[in-house]
């Protein structure tokens, strides 16, 4: 992967590591409260979901601001979502369950909310595997299709959060609304483009034929269509 090192990009890379640094400091100073294992595990899950939301927000921001070249940031934040999800899962397996596999098995089978976590993780894992520019080029059209599954990952992660709920509705609700709005935005843009395409198609054709009749159309436009 070739990164153009510019200022903002470096800031984002460093910024993505701050939650980990912060967590390390809290571990070192025993700042995680009476159940540090749980606190650690849950904080990693929170950061994974935050980066997931940030990743989803990139395209809408790009659409609204006409700011090009944000795809790199989408990839970067997506990788951080994967990174924190991986730490979240490792904390679960190694720190909390100490790799006692039969207990892990029972726990996962009996906890429906974890199934959604696993679904989210499998998706994020596949997306991370195929996130390089090289993979994008090789996979062609199917890359885009695959990477749309990030929405499913986000929905699964929110369900995962909701379903283990013991009391505080506010936080998972916040993420649910975030993901919902981001999804609605994408759907609206998609619908609008479709309508635009439909509406514009006859006009475009007419313009072309007219232009052709008058032989005023440059070669290049023909090639594009």
């Amino acid at each position: 992967m070739i990164f153009k090192i510019d200022n903002l990009r470096t800031k984002c890379i460093v910024g993505g590591l701050i939650p980990l640094l912060w967590l390390s400091i809290d571990i070192a100073f025993d700042n995680l409260g009476a159940n540090p294992i749980y606190a650690l595990h849950v904080r990693l899950g929170d950061w994974s979901l935050r980066f997931l939301c940030l990743t989803l927000a990139i395209t809408p921001i790009q659409t609204m601001t006409n700011w090009r070249g944000m795809a790199d940031y989408r990839q970067l934040f997506g990788m951080y979502a994967f990174f924190y999800a991986t730490l979240h899962v490792l904390a679960y397996l190694v720190i909390d369950h100490a790799l006692v596999w039969h207990m892990i098995g029972i726990d996962i089978i009996e906890s429906p909310y974890i199934w959604f976590g696993v679904l989210a993780y499998i998706i994020v894992f596949l997306l991370a595997l195929t996130s390089s520019k090289w993979a994008k080029k090789r996979m062609g059209k199917s890359w885009k299709k695959l990477h749309r599954f990030i929405y499913l990952a986000a929905i699964a992660a929110v369900i995962h959060y909701f379903w283990q709920l013991k009391g505080n509705l506010a936080e998972p609700l916040f993420y649910a609304i975030m993901v919902f709005l981001l999804l609605v935005f994408r759907i609206l843009v998609w619908v609008k483009n479709r309508q635009l395409n439909k509406a514009m198609a006859p006009t475009a054709r007419r313009v072309l034929t007219l232009a052709e009749e008058q032989s005023e159309i440059p070669e290049t436009i023909h090639k594009q269509h």
Binding site: Y38, E110, K166
Partner: protein, 318 residues
């Protein structure tokens, strides 16, 4: 209503001076707490000034258990009347007013009435009970409670034949309890219940202290129920009313989510909560990379309590 005072309660037949002294100490402690507002200081500042160093051990209190460090127990407690997270609960619970606490005892009893807590305590022999405590959320601890068997209090008020269940009601103080003020989540005040034989079981206690000191407010001061073989939410805090009733009371969590929280709520690793497993628990105070504890049926008290549920399908009566 008539508030019954010392005079209505016959002088106790107990003469053991040690027990007597202990009782005097706790009454003093609770009164001191009420007067000086002990516990208003930050949660971590322990109320260590009042201690019962050598209380006799209560029945069924396994001597082998090592208590969880008190600081962890004081800072990890659910108290939904105050907040839905543990940090805020422990902080806001300091606003609870516990002065001149009374307990109303009513329903199917011969001696109904409203009793001052101090008078109730004059009647009772305090002992230390070191119990495992298992929360439905999947964590656990070991707490040395200071208290007395609920059965002793119930015997004193003399249950009538219609007393088949016991209904407990917790304090209603919306002025200091934000979630009560906003009618958030559960129906307030908090209600819990036991079947009569569960209530009369020697393991079932009313606690007024822990770690040899009076109960911190966030842990249920000044009086709470402790039923060690059931999930923690059954052990209702800050009890103000005890009623003996004919029908099973509608308990708060059961009313809120009947398919998730049953009336019995016995600790049982084989019966998962609909959304998560109950097969294991994280013990507070255990380190990173330490395996979780395998949860035991009836939280390890099966020998003492399994007979209460002999012919019951525990999957159905969860």
């Amino acid at each position: 209503m008539i508030i019954k005072t010392k005079k209505d309660i016959p002088a106790s037949e107990i003469t053991d001076p040690l027990v007597f002294n202990n009782r005097r100490k706790i009454i003093k402690a609770i009164l001191a707490g009420a007067v000086t507002g002990i516990g208003i200081s930050p949660v971590s500042a322990a109320n260590n000034s009042i201690a019962w160093p050598d209380l006799p051990r209560g029945d069924g209190s396994a001597g082998l258990l090592t208590p969880t460090p008190a600081e962890l127990v004081k800072n990890y407690t659910n108290y939904y009347e105050f907040a839905f997270n543990k940090q805020d609960s422990a902080r806001l619970a300091q606003n609870l007013r516990t002065d001149s606490w009374t307990i109303e005892i009513g329903g199917e009893v011969e001696n109904p009435g409203i009793y001052y807590l101090e008078d109730v305590l004059r009647q009772q022999t305090l002992q230390e009970y070191i119990y495992r405590f298992r929360c439905v959320e999947g964590w656990s601890m070991v707490v040395p409670w200071v208290g007395f068997p609920l059965s002793c209090l119930l015997k004193f008020v003399k249950p009538l034949s219609g007393a088949l269940f016991v209904k407990f009601t917790a304090v209603h103080q919306p002025e200091v309890m934000p979630k009560q003020r906003r009618n958030a989540m559960l129906e307030w005040p908090y209600v819990e219940g036991l079947r009569m034989d569960e209530a009369m079981h020697p393991l079932t206690i009313l606690a007024v202290g822990m770690y040899g000191s009076i109960l911190p407010k966030q842990n249920g001061a000044p009086l709470r129920l402790v039923v060690p073989w059931k999930y923690g939410f059954k052990s209702i805090k800050a009890v103000v009313k005890i009623e003996l009733v004919r029908r099973p009371p509608v308990t708060s969590w059961c009313q809120f989510a009947p398919h998730e929280y049953g009336f019995y709520s016995n600790v049982n690793p084989a019966v998962a909560h609909p959304r998560w497993s109950q097969s294991s628990e994280r013990q507070l105070g255990s380190g990173f990379f330490t395996p979780r504890r395998k949860t035991e049926l009836f939280n390890g008290y099966g020998e003492q309590v399994a007979s209460l549920y002999r012919d019951m399908d525990l999957r159905h009566f969860f």
